[in-house]
């Protein structure tokens, strides 16, 4: 039972919490300075390789954003939650059958859509709910396919 909690439920909690923290922090961080010296030099460097002006500007902006995010503790912390959740889920995939695990993955989607309404104040239309229901249905149908090539699950 303890293994079930550690390798199946804990990844779900970690992944959803990490995604919420990540999105919340990304929402609240002000845009970095796209006109700084470093960004312009990256832009000219890229413009030598890829001649398009627009693509060079966008890539330079993207690199600026990414490098500024790498240094922010709140973003790194949230990403660490997601990564650890992912690793634990990989272990769960090697221990349990997919037909057992995929319904738990659906819990992930439900938590994300409900939580993003509560914590992140996103407007979720009926279309989004319907599409998530279809996706969850698809995942559960896939998980019920026979001949899944995993060893039998251990003692839960």
């Amino acid at each position: 039972m303890k293994k079930l909690f550690i390798f199946v439920l804990l990844p779900i909690v970690l992944t959803t919490t990490g995604e919420f923290l990540l999105k919340y922090n990304i929402n609240n961080i002000s845009a970095p300075n796209y006109n700084s010296q470093a960004t312009q030099s990256v832009k000219t460097f890229i413009a030598h390789i890829i001649p398009s002006e627009k693509i060079a500007a966008k890539s330079a902006n993207a690199i600026t954003v990414i490098s500024s995010y790498c240094l922010m503790p709140q973003i790194v912390f949230a990403t660490a939650f997601i990564i650890i959740g992912g690793i634990l889920w990989l272990v769960a995939m090697s221990k349990y059958q997919l037909s057992f695990l995929y319904p738990f993955l659906s819990i992930n989607y439900i938590c994300i859509i409900i939580g993003s309404q509560i914590f992140l104040d996103e407007k979720v239309s009926l279309f989004r709910y319907l599409s998530i229901c279809l996706i969850i249905l698809g995942l559960i149908i896939i998980s019920k396919s026979p001949h899944i090539n995993k060893k039998q699950e251990e003692e839960i």
Partner: protein
């Protein structure tokens, strides 16, 4: 145009999974006594490092997509990666498509199209 970010995340996620599967496949986890030798074999395998590289790229481009999209919009799109993973399973790992997988893929596609239009 910004949807290319989401498509990249889906592609990178698929490739990461494929790399990890290539690395873990030859290792038999059922034999408990050789757990440590198994770990050594995994970490020396080049596919693990390739998978980690793609994983890092995945995370980084996910940051960029969260800048542009809502979480409740972007996250369900990632379920398309399961479709790509099923097809790569057939392509690289000789897994078989069956009725359930095809019907499930159709449902996920419908959900993704509905999400895109809504």
């Amino acid at each position: 145009m910004i949807y290319i970010l989401l498509l990249s995340v889906i592609l990178l996620r698929t490739v990461t999974d494929i790399c990890f599967k290539f690395a873990v496949d030859p290792v038999d986890f059922t034999v408990v006594s050789s757990v440590f030798t198994n770990f050594k074999k995994i970490f020396l395998d080049k596919y693990i490092w390739l998978g980690l590289l793609f994983g890092v790229l995945n995370i980084v481009i996910w940051w960029l997509s969260l800048l542009k999209f809502d979480l409740s919009y972007a996250y369900p799109f990632l379920s398309i990666s399961y479709i790509a993973i099923i097809f790569s399973g057939k392509l690289f790992f000789k897994e078989h498509l069956c009725r359930h997988k095809i019907i499930g893929i159709i449902f996920i596609c419908m959900g993704a199209i509905l999400l895109f239009m809504g």
